[in-house]
């Protein structure tokens, strides 16, 4: 589950167009200081500056369909 911190920049706008909105279900594939997320079937690599303003909370165990 996603919480998006800031709401005003170009990046937030891009992320939304890509389907990354508050409350979206994502699968975290890789998280070091940069993150690779699976959002609505798309693999997104996000730089550390952005990942700092993203909070991901684990969903209760659900088998997610990989698309």
């Amino acid at each position: 589950m996603l919480g998006l911190d800031d709401c005003g920049t170009d990046e937030a706008c891009r992320l939304r167009a890509l389907g990354l909105c508050e409350g979206t279900s994502v699968s975290v594939i890789d998280s070091r200081h940069a993150m690779v997320l699976d959002v609505r079937g798309t693999r997104l690599a996000l730089g550390s500056a952005i990942t700092a303003s993203i909070t991901v909370q684990p969903l209760p165990a659900v088998r997610s369909a990989r698309g």
């Binding site: 709401c7 005003g8 920049t9 170009d10 990046e11 937030a12 706008c13 891009r14 992320l15 939304r16 167009a17 890509l18 389907g19 909105c21 508050e22 594939i29 890789d30 070091r32 940069a34 690779v36 959002v39 609505r40 079937g41 798309t42 693999r43 997104l44 690599a45 996000l46 730089g47 550390s48 500056a49 952005i50 088998r63 369909a65 990989r66 698309g67």
Partner: protein, 725 residues
């Protein structure tokens, strides 16, 4: 159509039908990146493409032509790929303007084809949902159906057509499947009613947006497009150029945003929530995905390519292969071309009686053209290899890996590909910087791309290393010559990073934009598509370089031949040539330049060759060839190398060219910007006009200073350390 139908009809741009010709169907092609849009475009138009620029901006305009199965002529405009309609970069602005029918050259689309990746349909529908409201007939091309099938994704096409209200064409563009159906769908689409928004906003939202909508309608927008823009503007922070003419828009927009905020609806989320809400339902009703247990192939490959340790190792290995392939694979082709041109030149020369004309044709034109064509194999191979890496999806991973390194010097991961392209030729490298949205990052990259040793420097390196670096072998099988070459390349690369860091801290100060990069699924690259791209780039290069270099070669030949002096019969043949040379225009210019290059250890002959090669580096070798009389029939670098080694300073009696001089000269060439094409493209990409020229000037200036300084250092420090000179 069993195989990809690439119609090799014309190489030169075809005659354009007039913009308002009613018998031509005008098609705008849009879509997310990585959907195979370019493949589709190439499949439809083959080589009947015309590449230019949109009026007044640096965005590339690619228009192609084809006929549908029923004979309709179509003019197809390939718009830059994007995830949504917006105006946050020049590319996207242009796309939006064209779609809204406000393109400056008056090109208005009759139908829009949205190319979507069937595997990632949900995200692709975002752009489609926006395009549906533009007020122009739309067709959805569902590409990569083969990948969808192998991933277990089933799409109910009739249901999708019903949901969207537009024709939907499943396709596999790289195999040429679906092209005819697409043509038919476009012809049909223009007869259907124009599509509209398929979902409804809450009443309060409609009311809040109404003032914006009416302002836009007053300004000439169609009602549907006005609603699209109104909703879109809720998430936009800054003024958009294509809306600048709408009076009072900013106030109305802010007012609407406030109204919405007050009732608890965050304006920035409005559009994405509304659209994805609708999209979610459409997907649920039309798509079924076979549950996949375990990870997909792409993920498994990624576990290696993005691995903490293996990732970078694999990356370096691949880069080494890229580098190596450009030299080893190209070599036999280059030899063949060189020999071919020499033979052709000799043959043509034998038809012309000995004299001025023959000299001009053989020594001037053939030598000049030959020195350009010799690069074709390298450039083609490099573009091909880079194309394979990009199409397969690996480039995105490479950009991701490089991002960390790039960030330390203040650059973007996206700067990586332009810089890599610079190894072939700075011109496409600089053009590739368009993917970098932020202007500061983009300019910084443009400034340093020329430092990546392009293939034009290769003849200079080859000549000098071949003649002056001993062929000794070091441990581990490395050769000294190979290492020197590698050293030159590394020097350029490391300096590029350093200079970029300096630019980002001074003239181009600014934070590096955070990275959002899509990692597409891995897929097999389509060789025919690649072939078309490589061919186009190659032709562009040959045409540009060929004209400049050919013209230069003729001019230089003239400068070296005139004014003619009566040869002194007492001197030997070689000495007579020397005398003639010194009396010619070229010689006199060289003498003037000599004091400037003496501190670097060069004589006037090198000086004048350097001066001549400022237009194009390859000219260095051909000018030296002209000066040493090694041209025409006997055009080969080994002979020239021998002549260089034998050259003795008449005053001191010592060799003019030593290894140290050669090294210093190579370093000069690593840094100096000597390419009219690069300057021209920098002017354009940096913004054109005064701004463009200023940046090109800075680029040229700093490289020259760097070149002179470094060459001076190498030569004089080397001398001081006793390496001879």
């Amino acid at each position: 159509m069993s195989d990809l139908a690439v119609s090799v009809v014309e190489i030169t741009p075809p005659t354009l039908p007039p913009a308002s010709d009613p018998s031509v169907l005008r098609l705008a092609l849009v879509g997310n990146p990585n959907t195979g849009k370019t493949t589709l475009f190439n499949a439809l138009t083959g080589l009947r493409q015309r590449v230019g620029n949109f009026a007044g901006v640096t965005v590339e305009r690619v228009e192609g032509f084809f006929r549908t199965a029923s004979g309709t002529r179509v003019s197809c405009l390939d718009l830059p790929g994007s995830y949504s309609l917006s105006a946050s970069s020049p590319d996207e602005q242009i796309a939006l303007e064209v779609l809204l029918g406000r393109a400056r050259d008056g090109w208005r689309p009759d139908v829009v084809v949205v190319v979507a990746d069937s595997v990632h349909l949900e995200r692709n529908l975002y752009l489609l949902s926006q395009v549906l409201e533009v007020g122009v007939p739309v067709v959805l091309a569902l590409n990569q159906m083969d990948a969808a099938e192998s991933n277990g994704i089933r799409i109910d096409i009739p249901e999708l057509i019903h949901e969207l209200g537009i024709p939907v064409v499943p396709m596999v563009a790289k195999r040429g499947q679906g092209l005819d159906a697409l043509g038919r769908a476009c012809e049909m689409a223009v007869t259907l009613p124009v599509p509209v928004r398929k979902f409804a906003l809450a009443n309060v939202v409609d009311e809040a947006l109404a003032p914006i909508v009416s302002e836009l309608e007053v300004a000439g927008f169609k009602p549907s497009a006005a609603r699209l823009e109104a909703l879109r503007l809720m998430s936009v922070q800054h003024a958009e150029p294509h809306l600048a003419h709408v009076a009072g828009l900013d106030d109305v927009r802010k007012h609407a945003a406030n109204t919405l905020a007050q009732i608890g609806l965050a304006p920035q989320r409005l559009e994405s929530d509304a659209r994805y809400g609708w999209i979610g339902e459409v997907i649920a009703r039309t798509t079924t995905t076979r549950e996949q247990y375990g990870r997909s192939i792409s993920d498994r490959i990624d576990s290696v390519t993005l691995h903490r340790v293996f990732g970078p190792v694999l990356f370096i290995a691949l880069m080494a292969i890229v580098f190596q392939s450009v030299f080893t694979w190209a070599a036999p082709l280059q030899d063949a071309i060189e020999r071919g041109i020499a033979a052709l030149g000799a043959m043509v020369g034998s038809w012309i009686p000995v004299g001025e004309l023959r000299s001009l044709v053989v020594d001037g034109i053939f030598a000049g053209v030959g020195s350009v064509l010799v690069f074709l194999p390298q450039i083609c191979i490099l573009f091909l290899v880079i194309g394979v890496l990009e199409d397969s999806g690996y480039m995105a991973r490479a950009a991701f890996l490089m991002d960390r390194v790039m960030r330390r010097v203040g650059l973007h991961g996206r700067s990586f590909i332009p810089m890599l392209s610079g190894y072939a030729c700075a011109v496409p490298g600089i053009m590739a910087t368009r993917v970098i949205e932020n202007r500061q990052d983009r300019l910084a990259t443009i400034m340093v791309v020329p430092l990546m040793s392009c293939s034009a420097r290769l003849p200079v390196y080859t000549l000098l290393i071949g003649s002056f670096v001993p062929v000794s072998t070091l441990p581990l099988g490395f050769g000294l010559q190979g290492l020197t070459l590698l050293g030159m390349y590394l020097l350029g690369t490391l300096t590029a990073l350093g200079v970029a860091a300096i630019f980002k801290r001074t003239l181009l100060k600014g934070p590096v934009r955070p990275m959002i990069l899509e990692l597409p699924s891995y897929r097999w690259p389509s060789l025919p598509t690649l072939g078309v791209t490589v061919w186009q780039r190659a032709m562009l290069f040959v045409r540009r370089a060929g004209t400049v270099i050919m013209a230069l070669s003729i001019v230089l030949w003239a400068m070296a031949t005139y004014p003619r002096t009566a040869p002194d019969p007492q001197l030997s043949d070689v000495a007579q040539q020397e005398q003639q040379l010194e009396q010619s225009v070229l010689g006199r210019v060289g003498k003037v330049i000599e004091p400037v290059v003496r501190p670097l250890g060069y004589d006037w002959k090198i000086g004048v060759s350097i001066a001549a090669s400022f237009a194009a580096r390859e000219v260095f070798v051909s000018t030296m060839g002209t000066i040493y009389g090694v041209g025409g029939d006997d055009d080969n670098a080994a002979a020239l190398g021998e002549r260089l080694k034998a050259e003795v300073d008449p005053i001191t009696g010592r060799p003019v060219y030593t290894t140290l001089v050669a090294l210093g000269l190579m370093v000069f060439y690593v840094y100096a910007l000597m390419c009219i094409s690069t300057t021209a493209i920098t002017v354009r990409e940096a913004g054109g006009g005064r701004v463009g020229w200023s940046w090109a000037g800075i680029q040229f200036g700093y490289s020259l200073v760097l070149a002179y300084g470094a060459a001076w250092l190498v030569y004089n420090v080397g001398r001081a350390l006793g390496f001879g000179g």
